[in-house]
C-alpha cells in the first residue's frame, strides 16, 4: 500500500516536526527579548539621531577627543593586562605541569584559579586597597621592615599600573585554567623525538612546543583582553569615575541625569561590543583550528 498523508502514523510524524520547534520557543523568546533585542536596539540606535533618521554622526563622534582618549586608555590597559596575564599565566602553568614539582601542586593551583577567576569585582578592589593601598599591610610592612617607600617609586594603586596589577589577580588564574589543558596536549613523545634528533630543550620549545601552543596562547590573550576591556565594578570601586575607561564613560552617560545624546551612548556601547565581540570570535576560530590539529 503506497504511503500517503492519510496513512496512519505519517501525520503523527509530520506534526511532531513542528512540535519540536515549539519546545525551544520559550527559550528563544527569552533570549530574543532579553539578550538580542536590547543589544540590537542599541546597535540600531547608534546609527540614528534623536529624530530617528539614519546618520553616521555618532560613529564619527567616537573619534572625538574625550571618547577617543577613553578608548585608547581602555585598549592600552586591556593590552597590558592581557599581556601580563598571558605571560605570567603561561609561566605558572608550565611550572605546575612540566616543572617537575610535586604532583599535588597542580590540583591545588587549578582549584584556586577556579575560585580566584571569580573574585573580580568590588571585594577584589578592597583587597588590594588593604594590601598595597596607601595604608595597605604590604605598603606598611615594606616601609617598617625594609625602609622601602612604595609611593616613592611612583607606584599608585589608583593609577594605570595599579589597575594592571589588580586585574592580574583574576587574569592570571584564567590564563592558567585555559592553557593547562593545552600543555597536557603537548605529547611527551614530541619532546623525546626532538631530543633524539639532536635538538636541545630550548630548540624543542622554539621549534615545536611554542608553535603548537601559539594559537591557544593568542586565543587566551584575546579572551583576557576582552575580559579586561569589559571590567567595570573593580575599576569603579578603586577609582570611582576618575579613571576614564570606556565602561566608566558609558556608566556616567547612563547614570548621569542629563543624557544629552542617548545615541552617542549607543555608539559607545556598539564600539564596546565590536571590540569584545571581535576578540571572542577570533578566539573561537583559533580554538577550532587547534582542535583540528590535535588529532
Amino acid at each position: 500500500m503506497p504511503l500517503t498523508a492519510k496513512t496512519p502514523g505519517v501525520r503523527a510524524v509530520r506534526r511532531s516536526g513542528l512540535w519540536n520547534w515549539l519546545g525551544v520557543l520559550p527559550f528563544l523568546l527569552f533570549a530574543a527579548m532579553f539578550l538580542v533585542a536590547p543589544t540590537l536596539y542599541l546597535f540600531i540606535g547608534a546609527f540614528q539621531n534623536t529624530t530617528g533618521a539614519f546618520t553616521l554622526d555618532n560613529i564619527f563622534a567616537l573619534a572625538g577627543k574625550d571618547i577617543a582618549d577613553a578608548y585608547s586608555l581602555s585598549i592600552r590597559l586591556s593590552l597590558v593586562s592581557a599581556g601580563l596575564g598571558a605571560i605570567t599565566g603561561l609561566l605558572l602553568a608550565c611550572a605546575i605541569v612540566l616543572g617537575g614539582l610535586p604532583k599535588w601542586l597542580r590540583p591545588a593551583f587549578l582549584t584556586f584559579s577556579g575560585v580566584a577567576s571569580n573574585f573580580a569585582g568590588i571585594p577584589l578592589a578592597f583587597a588590594f586597597i588593604a594590601t598595597i593601598g596607601p595604608l595597605g599591610i604590604v605598603t606598611v610592612l615594606l616601609r617598617n621592615l625594609l625602609g622601602f617607600n612604595l609611593s616613592s617609586t611612583g607606584f599608585n594603586l589608583f593609577s594605570f599600573t595599579g589597575l594592571a596589577v589588580t586585574y592580574l589577580y583574576f587574569q592570571l588564574p584564567l590564563m592558567v585554567l585555559i592553557i593547562t589543558p593545552a600543555l597536557d596536549g603537548l605529547k611527551k613523545e614530541w619532546n623525546e623525538a626532538a631530543l633524539i634528533l639532536g635538538a636541545t630543550n630550548m630548540q624543542y620549545w622554539r621549534m615545536v612546543a611554542l608553535p603548537v601552543l601559539a594559537p591557544t596562547i593568542l586565543g587566551c590573550f584575546l579572551l583576557l583582553f576582552a575580559n579586561a576591556f569589559g571590567t567595570l565594578a573593580t575599576i569603579y570601586a578603586l577609582t570611582s569615575s576618575r579613571f576614564s575607561v570606556v565602561p566608566i564613560v558609558l556608566f556616567q552617560q547612563i547614570r548621569g541625569n542629563v543624557l544629552y545624546n542617548p545615541n552617542l551612548g549607543y555608539a559607545l556601547a556598539l564600539g564596546m561590543v565590536v571590540i569584545t565581540g571581535l576578540s571572542n570570535v577570533i578566539y573561537l576560530v583559533l580554538r577550532a583550528r587547534t582542535e583540528k590539529w590535535q588529532k
Binding site: 605529547k187 613523545e189 614530541w190 623525546e192 623525538a193 626532538a194 631530543l195 633524539i196 634528533l197 639532536g198 635538538a199 636541545t200 630548540q203 621549534m207 615545536v208 608553535p211 603548537v212 583540528k292 590539529w293 590535535q294 588529532k295
Partner: protein, 352 residues
C-alpha cells in the same frame, strides 16, 4: 665484531627492579627484535639505549664509544615511536628535515636528502601535507624517514606497528625490513607480536620479567625454546604429561604407548614430565615414518585460509594440529575420527 653492546645493564625504579642484568651484542647491520609481553622490560632497555632512561648499572657501547651516560641528543641514534610523534606544526618535509636543520645542514643539501628519504618510503607526493591529513601508516613511514634522515648509527623502533591496522602492519613491517637491509643500519625492534618478530628479525631476544630468556635466530628460538616461557610465548604449543620409563634411553610412556625421545631425560624412572609439540609437527592421518600414532576424534575445525587448525581429542589428550589447505579435499568434519601421528624426535621436554 660487535657494533652495539649492552653489558650487565640493570634498571630499578625505587625498589622495583625492572631490568635484571641484560647482555646483548649486536653486529653492524643486524636486525634484532626484543620480544615479550607488557612489562617485561623490553621498552625500558630500548629507552636506555636511546638515553631517555639511565641504567642503574651496566654499560652501553656503540662503535667503540661508551654512551651510557650521554644525553639523548648527542648519541646520533634514530628512534621511531609507537604513537608516530610527528611534529604537528610541520609538514612532512619539515618533519623529515628537522634533524638535518638541527645539525646545521645547508638548505640545498637538506632539500636533496629529504627528497631522497621521501623517495625511499614512497611518499614524495605528500611532502607538503600535515600529519593530521595522513593515515596512521603514512605517518609512521614519515616517522621512519625522519629518524633515518640524519644517518644515525643505530635505529630503534618502539612497537612501531602496534597502533596500525592488521593489513598495514604486515606490509609496513616488510617495508621497514627492506629499507633496513638497503641501508645496512643496525636496528633494534621492540614488539609484543611474536609473528612480527619471527618474520623479520636476524635474531630475537625473548624477554620475561626483566631478563632475556633466550637470544637466538627465529628458527632456533621457535624450534628449540630454552625455557618454558619461551616455548609458550613463541608460537602455539601442545603440552601433555608422560611417564618416564627409561631416563638414559629417553623412553617415555603415555596411554599404554611407549616411544623414545631425541634426548636423555633428567628425571628418574616413574616420574611424570611435561612434553610439548608444535601443531605443525602433529600430522593428520596415519603417516608412515611416525612412531606415535593415536586414534583421535576431531573436536574443532578452524579454517584459517592456507592453514587449517584442528583440535583433536586422543584419549585424555587435547591436541592442536595444523594441516595445509588442499582445494581438492575439504577439511574433516567435526566429530569424525581419524588417526593422528607424530614423530617422537620432535617432542620437546618442557618441564621435569
Amino acid at each position: 665484531m660487535s657494533f652495539l653492546s649492552i653489558s650487565g645493564v640493570t634498571k630499578s625504579f625505587g625498589a622495583n627492579m625492572v631490568v635484571k642484568g641484560f647482555d646483548l651484542s649486536v653486529d653492524r647491520g643486524e636486525f634484532v627484535s626484543f620480544l615479550g609481553p607488557s612489562g617485561c622490560g623490553k621498552t625500558t632497555v630500548l629507552r636506555m639505549v636511546a638515553g631517555f632512561e639511565q641504567p642503574t648499572s651496566g654499560r652501553i657501547v656503540v662503535d667503540g664509544k661508551e654512551i651510557t651516560h650521554l644525553a639523548p641528543n648527542k648519541r646520533n641514534i634514530g628512534m621511531v615511536f609507537q604513537a608516530y610523534a610527528l611534529f604537528p606544526n610541520m609538514t612532512v618535509f619539515g618533519n623529515v628535515a628537522f634533524g638535518l636543520k638541527i645539525a646545521g645542514m645547508q638548505k640545498p643539501d637538506i632539500e636533496t636528502r629529504v627528497t631522497e628519504m621521501l623517495k625511499l618510503i614512497g611518499l614524495e607526493q605528500l611532502a607538503d601535507r600535515y600529519p593530521y591529513q595522513m593515515s596512521g601508516g603514512q605517518q609512521q613511514r614519515v616517522a621512519l624517514a625522519r629518524a633515518l634522515a640524519p644517518k644515525p648509527q643505530v635505529l630503534l623502533l618502539d612497537e612501531p606497528l602496534s597502533a596500525l591496522d592488521a593489513k598495514i602492519r604486515v606490509s609496513l613491517r616488510e617495508e621497514i625490513r627492506d629499507i633496513q637491509k638497503k641501508l645496512g643500519i643496525t636496528t633494534i625492534f621492540v614488539t609484543h607480536d611474536q609473528e612480527e618478530a619471527l618474520s623479520i628479525s636476524d635474531r630475537l631476544v625473548v624477554m620475561h620479567a626483566g631478563v632475556a630468556d633466550q637470544i637466538g635466530t627465529p628458527f632456533e628460538v621457535y624450534n628449540r625454546p630454552a625455557t618454558q616461557f619461551v616455548a609458550n610465548f613463541v608460537g602455539t604449543l601442545n603440552t601433555f604429561p608422560v611417564t618416564v620409563e627409561d631416563p638414559a634411553g629417553g623412553r617415555v610412556s603415555m596411554n599404554g604407548i611407549t616411544f623414545a625421545l631425541a634426548e636423555a631425560i633428567p628425571a628418574p624412572r616413574g616420574a611424570s614430565i611435561t612434553l610439548a609439540v608444535r601443531p605443525e609437527s602433529v600430522q593428520f592421518g596415519a603417516v608412515p615414518g611416525c612412531d606415535v600414532v593415536l586414534p583421535a576424534t576431531i573436536e574443532q575445525v578452524h579454517f584459517q585460509g592456507s592453514v587449517i587448525r584442528l583440535r583433536a581429542k586422543a584419549g585424555s589428550l587435547n591436541l592442536s594440529l595444523d594441516t595445509f589447505n588442499r582445494p581438492d579435499s575439504p577439511p574433516p568434519a567435526v566429530g569424525s575420527t581419524s588417526p593422528i601421528s607424530l614423530s617422537a624426535k620432535e617432542l620437546i621436554i618442557l618441564s621435569v
